[in-house]
């Protein structure tokens, strides 16, 4: 019960709430930046022949997405690592739900960045560039 009181207090504060939303926000934002930045930079890179900016974008955005998931996961652990239900004690229950979903969303975003970056390793940088 004391644990739940602590959790209730913690996840009512702006900092606690931001931790819960970290996976929801950072993952998709990082993935969107990766996709768009990498897409639009290709013609310029074709001229220089260098791929490292693409890898840099990938590394940075992947780090951000993983960090979002990690923050959510940390909150999930702090909330007892239980699978979220709709049990009584509204703040810890909804916090568990938000944290778990945040881990999933950030995980999917990270996977998206990784899968998209496969092409950077294997495809010709200039193919199809007008």
């Amino acid at each position: 019960m004391d644990d739940d009181d602590d959790r209730t207090r913690r996840y009512r504060t702006p900092t606690g709430i931001m931790q819960l939303w970290a996976g929801w926000a950072l993952g998709p934002i990082a993935w969107a930046i990766h996709q768009n930045a990498a897409f639009w930079i290709i013609p310029a890179l074709c001229e220089s022949g260098s791929r490292w900016p693409l890898w840099l974008i990938t590394a940075v955005t992947l780090a951000v997405a993983v960090a979002g998931g990690a923050i959510s996961h940390r909150a999930f652990r702090a909330l007892g690592s239980r699978w979220p239900g709709d049990e009584a004690g509204t703040v810890p229950a909804r916090s568990r739900f938000l944290a778990a979903a945040g881990v999933g969303i950030a995980g999917l975003s990270s996977l998206g960045i990784v899968v998209e970056s496969v092409g950077i390793a294997v495809l010709d940088l200039c193919a199809g560039v007008p």
């Binding site: 990498a38 290709i42 998206g112 899968v115 496969v118 010709d124 199809g128």
Partner: protein
């Protein structure tokens, strides 16, 4: 893992039994009468233009959208009849082009989005236990904008001035050079106009869902349909501006002579495709996501079991919303973009199968071992599974660039997107119509007719669209009004046409069923399906105020809780002599305040008329923009005229 909750099986004491309130709460008849008076909608001819109640506006959206569904469906049948035989001359090329443009535009903009918004507007406030939307007058304004915009657009077909450049309106085909006349001008202005309506509904839904939930309905207790409506609303807010910008640039190119899409003037035709598909692809998911919520709702009710993997389903719906914004370039694989850049979108297009797959597995897990009732809504959901999964599989195929280049602009694509759109959206919508019809009318639709309708739709749909995969693989291009006999495509096209007639008969059965049930349908008892969500915690149809008392929620299945505990916890203290709702906190739905909602008025209708003057008039002379501005200003003054302090309504 989550506990799998089954619906309580305790027998109802009577058909109209409702669980009692706490003994300290009195259900005063005089209070109820005053509440009815306060929330009543005006009647009569002028009264038709005044109501702001969410159920009336939602129902109007749904009915109007189905009218366009029928009209656009008839255009589809006409196109199929034209293609039934090679070198057929039933429709002239000009007419055929107008038909396929209006068919696509009407199905997407006039039917799909409005019908799903209509269901959301109708159901969501009841489902979250409130009495209306957060901005009831804006709600009414959105409907009149939609009604006027869609009516003007469709009338263009009747006077032979409809656009012919396809629902995607690619430039330069839609430029003045190839598409003179008013057709594309009307398309651009009316689509922008109708999207204003979509945006108003989206804003309403977001605020209503986040701020007017019944006390206790924390984010993790929100019904999945409410989550899906929330995601849809956010997607509309982010996607629609792209089409509004694209349409505005196109109309400037056509009317003012700018060159946004004209290469000779420094413009770029691909800019149109980027803008259009940045809206157009999320659009597919805008109409899919709420349908996923409908499917979840229907499965829970007809399996009488809590949804398996609620968190995973919500996460998948949210993820689908996000990822849908990163797929637009897969519509442009044949336009000559850098291969590496396209590969990012190929990866994202394949990735979206993951959240959708999670949902399908959660639904299967919910159904597994349950005592499923195969009523019509559930049949449509089962049909959805087959058709949507088929469409998803071909979706993953066309996400692959080499395969996409092979089938680009062929009938394979026509087959694919009809499987996704009809399977993913129309089937759940028809199921939802059967499901929520008692709350709309107080009557049940005929189950026999419903099952016949489902059989015809399922068979007709597959007979129509499955052969199109083969036609596409054989190279039949889409958007052609005829083909030569030597191609050998005649037989499969004939099969598809026969299927389309069967499909139309299936939909017609549902439409006739809906109309006939208004008069002859069995009277619905309270909560006829034994559902768990709050829209059923009241009479069928509900009174104007939705629920006599705002409920207090303790789980995801509040109505089942009440059945188990034989008691209804409710909020007391709201006044019955003015339109009051409880405002709650965003995350935890803790009561914060009481909001007084405005009553019926004609100003939203007049504001919509004022806006129409500008949107249509600007095609003829710029002065109409100024006229419309002042008309709108005066109508908004009337709309927002402050209440006098001594008048508390």
């Amino acid at each position: 893992m989550e506990e799998r909750r089954e619906a309580p099986t305790r027998e109802r004491r009577s058909e109209e039994h409702q669980e009692p309130l706490h003994p300290a709460i009195e259900d005063d008849a005089e209070e109820t009468r005053r509440l009815t008076e306060t929330w009543a909608a005006p009647t009569g001819f002028v009264g038709w233009f005044m109501p702001v109640n969410q159920r009336i506006i939602g129902r109007r959206f749904i009915v109007t959208a189905f009218v366009y569904f029928v009209l656009a469906g008839l255009l589809g049948i006409a196109m199929r009849l034209q293609l039934a035989a090679p070198e057929n001359d039933l429709l002239a090329p000009e007419i055929y082009n107008q038909f396929f443009t209006v068919h696509g535009t009407a199905m997407m903009f006039l039917f799909a989005i409005p019908v799903l918004e209509g269901f959301a507007l109708f159901v969501v406030p009841m489902m979250i236990g409130t009495r209306d939307m957060a901005f009831p007058r804006l709600n009414a304004f959105g409907y009149y904008v939609y009604l006027i915009g869609s009516g003007v657009f469709f009338l263009m077909l009747l006077v032979g001035m409809a656009p012919k450049a396809g629902w995607f309106n690619y430039v330069p085909l839609s430029g003045k050079l190839y598409e003179p006349g008013l057709g594309v001008d009307i398309w651009t202005t009316m689509i922008t106009f109708i999207e204003v309506s979509a945006l108003t509904a989206a804003v309403e839904l977001i605020v209503t869902i986040l701020k007017l939930r019944a006390p206790g309905m924390t984010l993790n207790r929100m019904p999945v349909f409410v989550w899906a409506s929330l995601v849809m609303a956010f997607m509309i807010v982010f996607a629609m501006p792209a089409i509004i910008v694209a349409s505005s640039l196109l109309i400037l190119d056509r009317l003012v002579g700018t060159g946004f899409f004209v290469p000779e003037m420094g413009g770029d035709p691909l800019l149109w495709q980027h803008l259009f598909w940045f809206f157009g692809h999320p659009e597919v998911y805008i109409i899919l996501v709420p349908a996923l919520g409908m499917v979840s709702t229907i499965i829970t009710t007809f399996c009488q079991r809590a949804l398996f993997g609620y968190t995973a389903i919500v996460m998948s719906i949210v993820a689908t919303g996000f990822v849908s914004f990163g797929l637009w370039v897969h519509h442009m694989f044949a336009t000559g973009l850098p291969h590496l850049g396209m590969s990012f979108f190929m990866a994202a297009s394949a990735l979206i199968a993951i959240p959708n797959g999670i949902q399908v597995f959660c639904w299967i897990a919910t159904m597994w071992g349950s005592r499923m009732r195969l009523a019509t809504p559930m049949l449509y959901v089962l049909g959805f599974f087959w058709v949507f999964v088929m469409g998803g599989l071909t979706g993953v195929m066309v996400a692959s660039i080499p395969f996409d280049l092979q089938v680009h602009d062929t009938y394979f694509l026509v087959a694919h997107f009809h499987y996704v759109l009809i399977g993913g959206s129309v089937m759940p919508v028809i199921g939802a119509l059967y499901y929520w019809y008692p709350q709309m009318t107080g009557r049940m639709m005929s189950e026999t007719a419903g099952k016949i309708s489902f059989g015809l739709v399922f068979v007709g749909f597959n007979v129509t669209f499955f052969p199109m995969h083969q036609l596409g693989l054989e190279g039949m291009p889409r958007r052609v009004y005829t083909y030569l006999e030597e191609t050998g495509w005649g037989e499969l096209n004939l099969v598809a046409t026969i299927g389309s007639v069967v499909l139309a008969a299936g939909f017609a059965t549902t439409m006739v069923n809906a109309l006939a049930s208004l008069r002859w349908g069995e009277t619905a008892r309270r909560n006829p399906w034994g559902a768990e969500t709050l829209e059923w915690a009241t009479e069928s149809p509900p009174p104007p105020y939705n629920q006599r008392h705002i409920p207090v929620v303790k789980s995801r299945e509040p109505v089942w809780d009440w059945r188990e505990e034989d008691e209804r916890p409710v909020v007391v203290g709201l006044r019955s002599d003015r339109r009051e709702v409880v405002v709650t906190s965003m995350l935890d739905a803790e009561p914060q305040a009481v909001q007084v909602l405005p009553g019926p008025t004609i100003w939203p209708f007049l504001s919509a008329l004022a806006a129409t003057v500008g949107f249509i008039g600007i095609l003829f002379h710029p002065v109409f923009f100024v006229v419309s501005f002042f008309l709108a200003f005066f109508s908004f003054v009337g709309w927002f005229w402050p209440r006098r302090p001594w008048q508390e309504d």
